[in-house]
């Protein structure tokens, strides 16, 4: 089932509208490739393609858990995770553009 999902995702990759219109990568380019690599089990490959994907997935998992169990300090930790994800995205984007 996981294999078929991966296969379907690989055959239905969407082009980034930003990249199509403007010509260079947007800060979100690479997410799909990284996600497919992660589904295949290549964690390092996924981090190389898009470093912010795994923290972002953790953020969503934590958000769902927080909505379900309502931790008292959960909102604050979510905020710190969010700031971490945003800074990873920006730093990796700057490195990608300078390379």
């Amino acid at each position: 089932m996981l294999y078929s999902l991966t296969h379907w995702l690989e055959n239905n990759m969407q082009t980034c509208g930003f990249k199509k219109a403007i010509g260079f990568d947007c800060p979100g380019c690479g997410t799909q490739r990284a996600f497919i690599a992660l589904l295949k089990g290549h964690v390092m490959e996924s981090i190389r393609l898009y470093p912010a994907l795994i923290p972002m997935l953790i953020l969503f998992l934590f958000l769902i858990l927080h909505l379900k169990f309502k931790f008292t300090k959960g909102g604050t930790y979510l905020m710190y995770t969010f700031i971490l994800v945003v800074s990873i995205i920006l730093i990796s984007y700057i490195f990608k553009m300078l390379r």
Partner: protein, 131 residues
């Protein structure tokens, strides 16, 4: 909410009621948090660059300001967890708003550049040595 302010008969009952008094969730506090967080991934998805995330973060911010006014009228009525949600959601929405507006402004500038000069974007980028 029902027990709010009613005097209790004896001490043990008071302790019990303080422990189990129903504190309310702030209205829309989780919605503020969810919208603030969702505005980040929506920001990079797809052709309407920046527009959905922009709208989501603005909705989140307006909800946050309303909920904050409600909280300030009577802070002891609401759970601290939901106030944390509100604060965190507000910060996330502000960050999302900044990112989305940067993206939106970039897209608008590029389209204006293309429309005004009539030069294809590839040649502009080539002159700028971006690619």
């Amino acid at each position: 909410m029902e027990n709010q302010g009613t005097p209790n008969q004896d001490n043990s009952n008071q302790v019990f009621s303080q422990q189990f008094r129903q504190l309310q969730q702030l209205p829309n506090s989780t919605a503020v948090l969810v919208l603030g967080i969702i505005s980040l991934p929506v920001c990079f998805c797809y052709f309407l660059m920046g527009i959905p995330g922009f709208v989501l973060s603005i909705i989140s911010l307006s909800m946050a300001s309303k909920a904050k006014k409600i909280y300030e009228v009577n802070p002891s009525l609401y759970t601290p967890g939901s106030y944390n949600n509100l604060k965190a959601g507000r910060v996330c929405a502000i960050i999302g708003l900044v990112l989305n507006s940067i993206l939106l402004i970039t897209v608008i500038i590029v389209f204006v550049m293309v429309a005004s000069t009539g030069v294809a974007i590839e040649s502009i980028l080539h002159d700028m040595h971006v690619r």
